[in-house]
Structure formats: C-alpha cells, structure tokens
Amino acid sequence: MLTRSIFQTLAPMITRRSLGYTLAGVLLASCGLQKDIDVELPAYPAQLVVECYLEPNRVPRMSVTESGSYLAEPTPRIPQDVKVVLTLPSGRHDTLDFKPGINLATGKAYTHIGRSRISASPGQTFQLEAYDTQGRRVTGSATMPAIVPIDKVEWKFNDLSGEQRKAYVTTQFQDPGNTVDFYRFQIHKSTVATDPEVEYTIEDRLNNGTNYTLGTSYEFQTNDTLFVTLYHLNQPYFQFLQSVEEARNANGNPFAQPSAVRSTVEGGIGVFTVLSYQRQRIIVR
C-alpha cells in the first residue's frame, strides 16, 4: 500500500545533495567555527522576475519584481512600468492591470491582476508577455496538465502513547502510463496558507504507469486537520521547482554544485504555469 512512501520519504535523504547538506549541517553545528566576512561581489544586472500560477475559474494574478545583488538591501524591488499581456487559448489578449495588492485568501502579494476569471482545461495553452520601458521582455507559454485524481488517502498510528503517538499518511493515485509525468505532493496542516508539513516532487521515470502511493513518516497527531494536495506538473515547472531547491541548498553546502535556476520563461527569471491539482481534507483520528 505504501508503494512510494518509503521511496519518496527516504530517498531524498540519500541523494548526494541532501547527504552533503546533512554533513554540512553537522559540521556547522559541531564546530561552530563561523565568522562574518566582507565579500565584494561583481556587479549584477537586475532582471525581471515573474511569478504567475493560473487556475481555472480564478482571476489571474501575477507578481513582477526584479532580482538584485545578493548582499543588497532586502527591500522589494517592484518595477512600476511593466505591462503584462496574457493570451488565452482562444487567442484573446487580456492585459493585466498593474494594481499591487495582497490576496487575502493566501496572503500572497501580486503586482498585476486580470479583470475576470479565466477558464482553463487540460491541454489548453496560455501565453504570457511582460515588458517594460527599458526594453526588457519576458515571455512564457504554459499548457495545463491533466488532473490526476487521488484514489485514496489513509493514515496509520504507531503503537506509542501520549505525545509519541503519531500517524503516517499515505496517498494513492494511478500514474498515466503513456506519458512522462511529474508531481508535487504537499500536506498542509489546518490551512493551505501556511508552510506545508510535507512536500516533495517526483517523476515517474522508474515506474511509469503504476499505482503510486506517496507517504510520510510518523508525524501527525490525533485530530490534526490535513490538506493533502497532489499537483500534476508539466516538465518545465517541475524543473523550475527542482532547480530552485538545488540553488537554495547550494548556499551553505560545500558539497553541492551550484546550479542555475531553470525558469519556465524566457528573457528573465521565474515561472508561468497552469495549476492542475486535486486536494483532500482529512482529520487524523
């Protein structure tokens, strides 16, 4: 039943990156031989950074920011002169308005917002174009993947008592056999607007077309309310997520080979995609 739980819960522990990261952590903690130093970085030209996740029946929102030198002040860099055009599958062009705000449902900031909800179905492709007065232009294309339904969500408690009594959760789904597929698995506690308790991405290259079960370790307590989400990703978005994780891990890991972020857009940095997911809410008892 736990077809993939062991694989996906434990496999990341043995990857080269996490192995080095673990060791680096041990070294840092055990030796405590750290100090601040002055580093002079070469000039870094700012690039446009876009982040846009389309969802069916939602108003499109998007953030357009700028990257900056790593050691610069952490002030948000929001260019004021960027125009964003979304091209729908029908060919219609929608210009997103520059109206910076916060999505109260998620707490997420955005700079541009559409004027109406969009409809999207699997297989449909959207185009994005963002450009400013400096001549910077970011383009992207995203096709909505098919929804892969969750077949079953289960949990099982260990034999301990009191605070030590915890459950693991498993999620089953059927991987389509005729395509190369990529997934993102998340479990949030109480609300999806918080950091997920469990998160990882996988691909089906080793067991294409089989029944997958994703799982966790023993980490949930009685009466925990959990939101289990299975995203079906297209390859560019999967590679973007992986490269972001690798780039983050490389900062502070002497064994990692730093890698570039593989954006899904051209002309800048960032991600443009159409979300395709299923979510179930459970209470662990």
């Binding site: 736990l2 077809t3 062991i6 694989f7 434990l10 496999a11 522990m13 080269r16 192995l19 080095g20 070294l27 030796c31 031989l33 750290q34 100090k35 601040d36 130093i37 580093v39 970085l41 070469p42 870094y44 690039q47 996740y53 920011t65 900056g68 030198s69 790593y70 050691l71 610069a72 002040e73 952490p74 998620t106 997420k108 260990n158 915890k166 693991y168 607007a193 918080t194 997920p196 290259r205 080793l206 067991n207 079960t213 370790s217 490269s243 972001v244 690798e246 780039a247 983050r248 490389a250 900062n251 002497p254 064994f255 080979q257 730093p258 890698s259 972020v261 593989r262 940095i269 960032g270």
Partner: protein
C-alpha cells in the same frame, strides 16, 4: 579486439625491442636487496660498480639486475637509512647475489627518515614527476587527530592539491579526483577514503611504500589521466613473530606478522578501527528519554589487511594480498525508522613471481576488486534499499628483461572485466502490497598491451620509451587508444641533470559525481554511447641539481597538460538510478600548466623538503545538449585550482629519544561559486516566500588563502619487552589556530522583534581549530 589487431599490436611492440649488443664478455648479477632486520624488500635501492660507473636500481619488489664485465668487480649495495654493503664478486658466469642491508642506526630506527631512493638516484633516473614515500616518513609527521595518512603526506608534495580542509583527495597537476589510479599490490582501489574523504583507506601499519606518478607515466600504467598511486603492502616479518600497533584518539591499530613454517615466507595481518561510536552511544545513553534530544547516529570505519608471501621454489614466489574496508553508519529512532548506510572496498590479489633466468623474470597477477555502497531504510513494515557497486576481475602479466647493460625492457598485458551496478533500487512491504525495483547494470572489458625500453645511450644520456595500446568494450561500443610514453635524462655534469617526458593517457571509466568532494555515493560509469573515453597528454621538463656535497637535491619541473572529453554534468542532473545517465553528461576540455620547485634533504639529523608550485588549471564546457554549457561556455577554474602552493616540511632528531617534526602549508584561496544575485519566490501560496540564489558564473570567487602549521614530537620510551620499541607521538594540527576557510555562504540577518529580514551577510565556515593529539605506538 580482433586477432588482426593483436597481431599488429604485437608486431609494433616487438619493433621497440632493441638489438642485443655483444661487444665484450659480460655477465649478469641479479637478486634481491632486503632489510637485514625485517627481511622486507627495499625498492629503489642501488646496486652499483662505482669504478665502472655502472649501476642498477631495485624495482618495486626489491629485485635488481646488473650486467658487468667479467672478472673481479667491487659491487656496493646502498639504500638511504641503511649501511652500505660492499662486496667483491668475481664474475665468471651469471650469478645471483642477494644483499641484506643493516640499518644505519639501531636506535630510534623508526624515526630516521627513510626515503626510497637516494638523492643521487633521483638525479640519475629517467623517471621524473615521481614522489616516493615510505610509511616511516608519514608516521613521523604530525597528523590530524594523530591519524597517520599517507595520502595527506602526498598532498605536501609539489603539484598535488587536496580537495579541501582535512580531506585526503588528490588533485594532481590539474587533474580531478577520479583521474587517479589507486593500486594496492596491483589491484585497483576505487574509493580510497573513509568518512567523506577525511581519512584514507591505507592503514600505515600495513603499507610499505607509496609511489605517486604525476607525469612521465611508465607504459605499464594506464586507465587514468592524471596520476598513479602505487601502494605496496608490507610482506611481514620473515624471521620472527611480531606484534605492533597503536592507540590513538579516534582509532587503534594492531598488526600481527611472522614467518611461515619452514621459513618459506611470511605473513601479515593488520587491522584498524575507529571508536567514534563507542563515545556517541554513551552520549546517547546519558540523554535517553529527553524529548528535545536527537540521538547521534552510530558511525565507525575499519580496515583489515592481510598479506602472505610464500616461496614456491628457488625461482617462484607467491604473494597474496587482501583488503577489506567498510564505513558503517546507522541510525534507529523510537518511531521505528531505521537507516543504515555502509560502503567500502574489497580487494584481493595473487601475484606469482617467476624468475626465468638472471635476465628475465615475470610477475603475473590476478586481482578482484569491488567497491559498493548500500543504503537501507525501514519504516514499520516497509523497507527501502539503494545500492551501487563496481566489480573488477583482472589479470595482468609483466615481464622484466635485462637485455644487456644498456637496455632494460619491460612488456606485458592486462585484461580487466568491469561490472558496473550504477543503480539498484528495491522497495517492499511485508504484506506484499509494495514490490518495486530497478536494476541498472553495465559490463565492460578493458585491455592493455605495453612495451618499454630503458636505454642507456651513453653515460650522459638515458632514455625510457614505450607505448601502451589500450582498448575498451562495452556492449557494441569499442574504443582503442595508442598511448606513447617517453622520458629521458641528460647529465650535464655529475651533479646536474636535465629531464623531459611525454605521456598520453586514456581513461575508460568515469566517476559520476557533481559534488566537489569524494562522497561514498559517487558511482562509476563505463565509456559507452555518447560517453567517450577521456584523453590527456602531458609534457614536462625539468632540471635537477645535487647541492651541498650531495645532501640536497633541487629540482625544478615545468609541465603542460591538455585533456579532451572531460566530463561534467548538466545543472540538476539526475544521477541516481537513471537508466539514461549518459544523457546527463556534458563534455569539454581542460588544460593545466605550472612550475614545481622542490628542494629535499634526506640525510643528517635535520631532514625534510620545501616545495613550491605555481600553477593554473582551467576547464571549458561549451553549449551542448540543449544547455548553455557550463559557465555559459566560457573557461572557468575548477575549485581545486590554486595559484600558489608552498609546503615546508622539517624533521629534526634532537637526541636518541626525541624527534621534532613540523610542516607548514600555504596555498592560494580555493575557487568557489557564490550567488551574485537573488530573487524572491512566493510560490503558489505566499507563506513560503524566500530568497533564491542566482549563480550566473562558476568559481569566480576566491576564498581567503589557506595556511597552517602542524607540529609534532616523537618521544621514544622504554619498550614493553626487550628488543621492542615504543613511542608517544604528539601532534598539534593547526598550531596557531588559523581559521582557514572551508566554505562561504550567505545568510539572512533578521530583526528579532519582528522576524523580518533586515540585511544579508557573508559567513565563512572553518572546519578544524587547533587540534592536539597523542598516539601511543608499540612494536615487539
């Protein structure tokens, strides 16, 4: 390889053999040079007829062959640290003469620096770019945690860089860590380190000598681009039963050795084990039951070495070597989660030495070697296992033929069957609901055929030239390489030599690793499909001066190396259990050049060396396979590139009880990659917003220079038994507590009250502060 190819190859090789020279009646003396007290062979010893200006050097088995005119001849055998043994021989026929040399001193014999080969020999030999160590040298020098490490001692030689603070990885003349051929008694060792490279697998008690070839590779070696590390194990005491060992801070060693029945040979059994786990278990026990305490995982490593030297007959000897080393890492939690991670090498070899006559002998070696790692996890009823291995079966034969006093010919062949288990995955559940796996295996056959001739053209000019023909086959993919090798020495005066060498090398197996360190999960991959053999060429030239009445040797070598089909990996390459692994490779070129200055002193109360290297190493991977290449296709420095490298090593015998030692290292800063920029990613929900580093260029930042002083003292104490020896070896690693950079990272600075990021800062992490240690060594 086809029959026609082998015939052509044989023909080519025999064309290299020189015609005999029969000018006058000459005879050959041959035999072994051994240490009188231990019976150990002495590689690199000299047997010479000084009045004739003729001489020979013993090979790595202590065997020599010398051709002299008939009649009475005064012959002297010598080896540094031992008393010269003159002997008058009347040559009326070919004859066998063995030499057993007494030590130069019978007190504190262990603390006399024993370099293999005198400075005079180093001046005269055609072989350049060779560093030779004996265990005795390494044992004297101060060491991290008191753990004597032969590879770290080699890092003190010019042209050799380490892979980072405290690690035993070797980067030789711009070569990467996987381009070193590690041999233990002619068997390959694939992973020469323990604990992520902090310690080498070579137990110093079991090792007799280590030769490091940085260039000018003899034709009998092949399969790696940048260096050969040829480790010879001790054969054991042939005369009496012996016990030796040491107690250190983190490990202990024990060695038993003695003669075989009827004195037909000798045997040796040696072991070493760390005891981190003994301490960590006690710490875990003390903290048992505390909610916020995370138990420390168990970790230890061990090495077992065995060697048997058996005399089959007057002309035949059998040498059997075994090595088993493992790193063991284990973790078990209260929640039922178990994690075990084991890795290590298994090596075995059997060498048959047969002397046909005084001019010709052969060594035939069968060897097996295996490196594997195994990760197993269990949670409740579920289990997971990931493993990888490489296994070699090899057979080689090496002939040494002393044709006459001008020509010494070597020829031979090797054949290796490789099995690559690049990924074996198993996951299962007790109730049968889970049963999946993947197993990716490849095979490859590697062959080599070589011949070389050491030709003494005149008193001043000596040449060593040869060729190695190599081949590799994996499935339907076949590769053949012609590897010419040449080196020469010209004596300008009796105290000055000019040397030059050229070598072309092929490497058919490749280490799949995109980390900067030697990790146990690195896997080996054959040349197949798009992954072609790596190739390099190196030219080197040098001059050597014997100074101070022969007490100092000053050597300067300049090298240039260029390599094709170098390997790196795409960003985000999936290297685990990937059936299309070769699609993740990127190919490029590399080049390195530098100048090495080396002054050494091997005799007297004060000995040591000073080495300085000025070098450059670069690599370039252009746009390919849908990527922009590495560093946008521009050349970049690999992280082991160092501009300057200075080492000063000194040993001083204060009196018959005390030896003082020290080493000073200075290197330019390591090339490393820092993120130049960052952007904020909010993700689908804004709760997880954080900065993402941007790495537009590779290795453009240099860490601060590295320098370190280590000090040591060897104090000989009264032995436990008469005739034995014992000492305390004190070491202070990083004596002036230099905070050397290990790596640099960027960190957020947060306002504690609001938990918001106020700025970013660069942090430098150092690994080892000053570390004193003491080791007790004994022998009886």
């Amino acid at each position: 390889m086809t029959l026609r190819f082998i015939i052509c190859l044989s023909g080519l090789l025999f064309m290299l053999l020189p015609a005999p020279v029969w000018a006058q009646v000459q005879y050959t003396i041959s035999g072994y040079v051994r240490a009188a007290n231990t019976g150990e062979a002495l590689p690199g010893a000299t047997v010479a007829a000084p009045s004739l200006g003729l001489g020979a050097t013993t090979d790595d088995k202590g065997y020599y062959v010398l051709t002299l005119p008939s009649g009475p001849q005064q012959v002297v055998a010598s080896f540094i640290g031992y008393q010269n043994q003159p002997q008058t021989i009347t040559l009326t026929r070919n004859q066998r003469t063995n030499f057993n040399l007494a030590e130069a001193t019978n007190t504190l014999g262990e603390v006399v620096v024993q370099g293999s080969g005198t400075l005079e020999q180093k001046l005269q030999t055609t072989q350049m770019s060779l560093e030779r160590l004996t265990t005795r040298e390494a044992k004297l020098l101060p060491a991290l945690f008191g753990e004597v490490d032969l590879l770290k001692t080699l890092q003190l030689k010019p042209g050799v860089q380490n892979g980072g603070e405290g690690t035993s990885g070797l980067f030789v003349r711009g070569g990467s860590a996987d381009q070193n051929l590690f041999l233990v008694d002619d068997a390959v060792v694939y992973n020469p380190s323990h604990l992520f490279g902090l310690f080498s697998v070579f137990n110093p008690d079991a090792v007799q000598s280590v030769d490091l070839y940085k260039g000018g590779f003899p034709a009998q070696y092949g399969g790696r681009l940048s260096s050969v590390v040829d480790v010879k194990m001790r054969p054991g005491e042939p005369e009496k039963l012996g016990l030796s060992g040491g107690l250190g801070l983190i490990s202990s060693r024990l060695t038993l050795e003695g003669p075989l029945p009827n004195k037909k040979g000798s045997w040796l059994l040696s072991g070493r084990r760390t005891y981190f786990d003994v301490f960590t278990r006690q710490i875990n026990k003390l903290n048992e039951g505390q909610d916020d305490y995370n138990p420390i995982p168990d970790y230890y490593f061990y090495d077992l070495n065995a060697k048997v030297n058996y005399q089959l007959g007057a002309k035949d000897n059998l040498f059997i070597t075994g090595y088993l080393g493992r790193d063991v890492f284990g973790f078990g939690s209260q929640n039922g989660f178990d994690f075990n991670f084991n890795w290590g090498n298994t090596v075995g070899s059997a060498r048959w030495n047969h002397v046909f006559n005084r001019r010709l002998y052969v060594n035939t070696t069968a060897a097996i070697t295996r490196y594997e790692y195994n990760i197993s996890n269990a949670l409740d009823q579920f289990s997971f296992n990931l493993a990888s291995d490489i296994r070699d079966l090899s057979l080689r034969t090496d002939f040494d033929y002393a044709l006459n006093d001008r020509h010494a010919v070597k020829f031979g062949a090797t054949l290796t069957d490789h099995r690559f288990g690049t990924g074996r995955l198993r996951a299962g559940a007790e109730d049968g609901s889970l049963n999946l796996g993947s197993n990716i295996n490849y095979r490859g056959q590697e062959a080599g055929l070589y011949a070389s001739d050491n030709f003494r053209a005149s008193d001043k000019l000596q040449l060593d030239y040869g060729v190695r023909l190599s081949g590799f086959q994996s499935g339907s993919d076949r590769y053949v390489g012609v590897e010419p090798r040449a080196s020469g020495r010209y004596s300008l005066t009796s105290r000055t030599s000019l040397k030059a060498s050229y070598a072309l090398m092929y490497q058919y197996v490749h280490l799949v690793s995109n980390s900067g360190a030697s990790l146990p999960t690195d896997i080996w991959y054959p040349s197949r499909g798009s992954v072609k053999p790596q190739r390099s060429q190196q030219v080197a030239t040098g001059v050597s001066f014997l100074l101070g009445n022969g007490r100092y040797l000053l050597t300067n070598e300049v090298y240039y190396k260029w390599a094709q089909r170098q390997i790196d990996f795409k960003d985000g390459a999936q290297l685990f259990v990937n059936p299309d692994l070769d699609s993740e490779f990127l190919f490029g070129r590399g080049w390195a050049y530098g100048n090495e200055i080396y002054v050494e002193k091997k005799t007297g109360r004060t000995t040591g060396w000073i080495g300085y290297t000025l070098s450059w190493t670069k690599r370039q991977f252009p746009a390919q396979r849908g990527t922009a290449g590495i560093n946008n296709g521009n050349p970049f420095y690999p992280n082991y590139d160092r501009r300057h490298n200075l080492t000063v090593v000194g040993l001083h015998r204060l009196n018959h009880r005390i030896q003082l030692t020290g080493s000073l290292v200075y290197t330019s800063g390591q090339a490393t990659t820092l993120p130049l920029g960052r952007f904020v990613l909010q993700d689908v929900y804004g709760s997880d917003a954080s900065a993402v580093p941007i790495y537009p260029q590779r290795n453009t930042y240099r860490l601060a220079p590295y320098h370190r002083l280590d000090l040591g003292l060897v104090y000989k104490v009264k032995p436990l038994r008469e005739g034995g020896e014992s000492d305390f070896t004190f070491s202070v690693y990083n004596a002036y507590n230099r905070r050397n950079p290990y790596f640099v990272y960027f960190d957020q600075v947060k306002d504690k009250s609001t938990n918001t990021v106020t700025s970013y800062r660069a942090r430098q992490v150092s690994l080892f502060p000053v570390i004193p240690s003491v080791t007790y060594n004994f022998k009886f």
